[in-house]
Symmetry: C2
DNA sequence: GGCGATTTATGACAAAAGTCATGTTTTGCC
DNA sequence: GGCAAAACATGACTTTTGTCATAAATCGCC
């Protein structure tokens, strides 16, 4: 696997404002900047593997990455889909554990790697940054708790509708009325995200299409009727 | 709802060694100690409610507490079962959000309440404590990710077997061969923990009993054969 | 100690979702 | 442009799980 490097200055990174590094002092940011390695990844390449020891932090500059767990039969479950500006792998770093998930590139990505020593140094020196990281982790945890409860008690149909709306928030490109999801997921990835079988996703997406809730646009999905989709996501009874 | 208070000195608390407060300097600990309120709760009482604003941190001195989310149809999903020494409600405190779950006493409890101002003060002054809190949150998150993947791809049978083994770790009272789970959960609570219907839990527990994997002892369950139960928890195929 | 309420248990059935087989379409690549 | 591989789609069928009804057991309380 060839390592194609690239160069970017953190200070000039367009994702800085969306990132946890936003607000860092110029010295701290340049400490990060001067010690990072930036690598280009192709679709399908892995960034880190479940069960290995983390050695640093990944910061996504471009592209999309899925973070997933593999079960014994090899079925994936997608924990997150990370976008530019997101940090990756800091959970395991802070809990001092091995990675409990694998990260794979969904769409060609540019990713910066920050050695854990540099990350920890800035973290320790900078209580405000620490506080932001903690806040982020705790927010993420709230999201997970919500998702877990849905996994426990919602039907696959409801969860799929919910996932469509969730991705709409992050990847939705507003048009008139409808919204194109600017992310190309295979049916298998959708299944891993929702926690179901590929065939089930295919059937349900076809249903949604037949009901004119969504339409297909190449490998992408257009959300035609978010409101009715939201009804599908909640409860048939409600 | 009557508030029965009680008194306990943090320095003398038998759970201090298991708690995140362990290792705090005498001054910091006495700051916590001097500003806390200790309340006795009866089974069924609520400690905090989903959707309300957290005002402090709960530290469990005795008893057992379930933390759960309620879905639209009123179905519960239990996120955690907290035991003496555990902190409660700090996630929402650190993410500066409303509680996203409700906490209810499962077995009569003694709980200390620490105003958020005092908690944050100690947190800010004490980077080592902060680091421990962060580590704890991140570990918890790893556990949640694991559980979420199981929820997505394991059968109810596997998850129930897994929950029995999980509670065995915390509440197991070792005997010869078998282990009594020292926690009295209703079938409904088991269902909320596993993420299924009450009837399904009843049937599966009966199955496990018929297979001599477990036995019933009053309201408690005795694990007779952890190894075979572990096989049930993993994969029928494996 | 008995009575009503709650919890546990069981059966019958329906609905949801998974699996397997097979076919079709799309994609990547030489 | 053609071919193999991968992705997508559909049908048939099975299994799992949820729901509803009802009965039995247990608990709390006067």
């Amino acid at each position: 696997m060839q390592r194609k490097e690239f160069t970017i200055d953190c200070q000039l990174c367009i994702h800085l404002k969306d990132s946890l590094f936003n607000g860092l002092s110029p010295e701290d940011l340049s400490r990060i900047n001067n010690h990072k390695t930036c690598i280009q990844y192709k679709k399908g390449q892995n960034i880190f593997y479940e069960g290995t020891r983390p050695t640093g932090l990944f910061c996504i500059n471009g592209g999309k990455v899925k973070v997933f767990k593999n079960n014994v039969q090899g079925k994936e479950f997608i924990l997150y889909i990370a976008k530019p500006g997101d940090f990756l792998g800091y959970r395991a770093l802070l809990s001092e554990e091995f990675y409990c998930a694998t990260a794979t590139v969904l769409e060609d990505a540019k990713i910066c790697f920050i050695q854990k020593e540099n990350f920890f140094e800035v973290l320790q020196k900078n209580p405000v940054f620490m506080k932001k990281v903690v806040k982020q982790v705790c927010q993420q945890m709230g999201i997970m708790e919500e998702r877990m409860a849905e996994l426990a008690h919602k039907s696959v149909r409801e969860r799929l509708a919910g996932s469509l709306l969730m991705l709409k928030e992050t990847y939705g490109m507003e048009g008139e009325e409808s919204v194109l999801l600017d992310i190309a997921l295979s049916r298998e990835d959708w299944a891993s995200l929702v926690g179901t079988a590929t065939e089930t996703v295919i059937r349900l997406l076809s249903d949604f299409k037949a009901d004119e809730l969504i339409s297909f646009e190449g490998k992408k999905i257009r959300v035609l009727d978010p409101k009715r989709l939201a009804k599908q996501a909640d409860l048939i009874v409600a």
